[in-house]
């Protein structure tokens, strides 16, 4: 058989709980679902291989949001994230996370994942945020995926690797009924009927184009092409605050952080070309990113992470973490550039745009049980709307989703769906393989993402967005009418391109809807430069209604933890003031 030859075939299976995405939230969701009802069938579907998939493919250097008794309280954390996210937070989910995450840390510890402890045996938590102390280094963070995988095998979770989910199946009453997926090596279809479905499919990280021009050099794992966002949208689920883009401060040309979270607690800091600090706090908020962006444009750039002033032993310690975990090619990159942390500062830049609640707040709208607006459908991790939830949030909310989804499955039978939906989806998926002549997916993807950079990157200008929408519509027509896939691997890319274009359309639509500026650089609209609490202190929910993309306002739920008036703008004061 020729490499990646397309095989015509389709099969159907069923399970109680279907988890889609085996990165961070997914394995934990599958595990907790199975533990809740060991007799039930739990399937974990993964586009790559659960052993090494997702954002933490090579592990993680630390927890960025650990709420550990003695260092921080759930109330304090909830307050901090509410302020960092400009007030647009349903606190119940954040507060629940803050209460639950310590038990998840203990559980991860029991899996063999170790966290940094001081000489007294207490967790050595570091301060990076503006107010509280939540950053906990992970000295053996490279073992995370292995430790998780062991647990999945032990619990007898059914793992299906190399299947890309393309659409959810829904019943006539709107309830979720399962999913359709395609094998990335053979293009055979697999229909999975399920009583409940948990989406853990990561960020929409292949949206903007990195400045290096290398299409797969994205900040997020490039496999995270926003498939979950697109699937949720087409199933009728609401997506929250998509205009709150993710933009990160990264090493110039390299797609990883420099990284101030690791080096900051040791005394490193973000500096301009004069060697001066210009931001109060290195925590990644939209407000901080705006100051970063302003500094780059002001003529005082480039911006650097400065650590050459530190003791050589300290630098060595930082280096060993940065070059071993999360993005180990970071060391190789610095070596190639001849950057010695002892002598030189690290040049930084800003990343391409994406959707991700892990660092910002753009995600499928969920409540404090990880339930989406579609009955039986859950979402957790980077693609669900709980803001700033990082890796520990993915684990913690994945656990919540797993338990609740199993409870749903225990109380419901399979939902009926229209068999014609499968035939329709099969035609849609296979269409690029049926054409003899046309445009390959990489060109369609490149063009779409180049347009995202040209027209949708902040600062957001209404006229540019309208032009961008027109151009993207032209690319969509090409994608739907002329895209070709000559083998199953190209078909995988063709399907991802469709997710990317869906996300680009959603990014444009959501951004035009919110007529104010909020979240610093993430939603900086030149035509509406001010924050407008009177009209826009609300979520925006985007969804598909009667086949059309629509947006609406949704009120922010009453706070569980009150925020005093003089605390609300703490994150607006990111720029260091020069005292006379």
């Amino acid at each position: 058989m020729a490499m990646d030859e397309i095989v015509d075939g389709m099969s159907e299976v069923s399970c109680d709980v279907l988890v889609i995405g085996g990165g961070t939230a997914g394995p934990m969701a599958a595990l907790k679902a199975k533990l809740k009802n060991p007799k039930a069938n739990v399937v974990l579907l993964e586009k790559a291989n659960v052993k090494r998939s997702g954002a933490i493919s090579m592990g993680m250097d630390g927890l960025n949001n650990a709420v550990i008794p003695g260092y921080a309280t759930p109330e304090q954390y909830t307050k901090e994230i509410t302020i960092a996210n400009d007030g647009i937070v349903d606190q119940k989910a954040v507060y629940k996370y803050a209460q639950n995450c310590y038990s998840i840390i203990e559980e991860l510890d029991s899996f063999g994942i170790r966290f940094l402890k001081n000489e007294n045996g207490d967790y050595a938590v570091k301060k990076v945020h503006h107010i509280g102390t939540y950053v906990l280094p992970m000295p053996n963070g490279d073992t995370v995926k292995k430790a998780l995988y062991r647990q999945l095998r032990r619990a007898r979770i059914l793992i299906s690797n190399r299947y890309m989910a393309t659409r959810l199946l829904t019943a006539s009453d709107g309830r979720v009924a399962g999913a359709i997926s395609v094998n990335t090596r053979t293009a055979e279809l697999l229909v999975i009927k399920a009583k409940s479905v948990i989406l853990c499919m990561g960020a929409a990280g292949r949206l903007g184009l990195p400045t290096s021009g290398y299409m797969f050099g994205t900040y997020e794992n490039a496999a995270n092409s926003g498939d979950g966002y697109a699937m949720a949208y087409h199933a009728g689920a609401a997506l929250a605050n998509l205009e709150c883009f993710q933009i990160n401060p990264l090493i110039k040309d390299y797609n990883g952080p420099a990284c101030a979270y690791v080096a900051g607690p040791f005394g490193a800091f973000t500096a301009n070309n004069e060697g001066s600090r210009f931001i109060e706090c290195d925590y990644w908020s939209g407000q901080m990113m705006l100051e970063f962006y302003n500094e780059l444009l002001s003529g005082k750039g480039p911006v650097f992470l400065q650590l050459k002033h530190l003791h050589p032993n300290t630098i060595e310690e930082i280096e060993s973490t940065l070059h071993k975990v999360e993005r180990p090619t970071r060391g190789l990159f610095q070596q190639g550039r001849g950057t010695d942390y002892r002598k030189e500062s690290i040049e930084m830049h800003i990343s391409e745009i994406g959707f991700c609640s892990g660092h910002s707040a753009s995600g499928v709208f969920v409540d404090d049980f990880a339930r989406t607006s579609v009955p039986g459908l859950y979402a957790a991790g980077d693609m669900a709307s709980v803001p700033h939830n990082y890796m520990l949030g993915a684990f913690t909310n994945g656990a919540v989703a797993g338990a609740d989804a199993m409870e749903f499955a225990d109380n419901h039978d399979f939902a009926d769906f229209d068999a014609a939906d499968i035939a329709k989806e099969r035609d849609r998926v296979m269409a690029p393989t049926k054409r003899d002549d046309g445009i390959p997916p990489n060109q369609i993807e490149y063009k779409a993402r180049r347009l995202v950079n040209d027209y949708l990157q902040p600062p957001k200008v209404t006229r540019k967005f309208e032009l961008g929408q027109r151009r993207l519509a032209e690319v969509r027509e090409d994608m739907e009418q002329r895209m070709i896939a000559r083998n199953s691997h190209e078909l995988l890319r063709a399907l991802e391109t469709q997710s990317i274009l869906d996300c680009a359309d959603m990014a444009a639509h959501a951004s035009l809807y919110r007529e104010e500026s909020r979240w610093g650089l993430y939603h900086l609209r030149t035509d509406f430069p001010e924050k407008d609490n009177e009209n826009w202190f609300c979520h925006t929910l985007l969804s598909k209604k009667d086949g059309r993309m629509t947006s609406e306002k949704r009120e922010v739920q009453p706070y569980v933890v009150p925020i005093a008036d003089d605390e609300k703008d703490l994150y607006d004061k990111q720029r260091i003031r020069v005292s006379a």
Partner: protein, 77 residues
Amino acid sequence: MPLATYQTSVPVVVDDAKCIADKGCTVCVDVCPLDVLRISDMTGKAYMAYDECWYCMPCEADCPTGAVTVNIPYLLR
């Protein structure tokens, strides 16, 4: 529309002398998040078939014989 191929230098390099794919090993192909590695029909060794790399390293880290090297793609080097 006629198609042409164009040349690209790929970041993942496999040392054929060390690679044991011809003995049935598929570890690097299995773990790649972007699914860009394949076993060559001609040589029986692993190679990078698609230049779509996130240079994340599982292929290098998990290779049992140390045959795989991940380089930074030229465009961002």
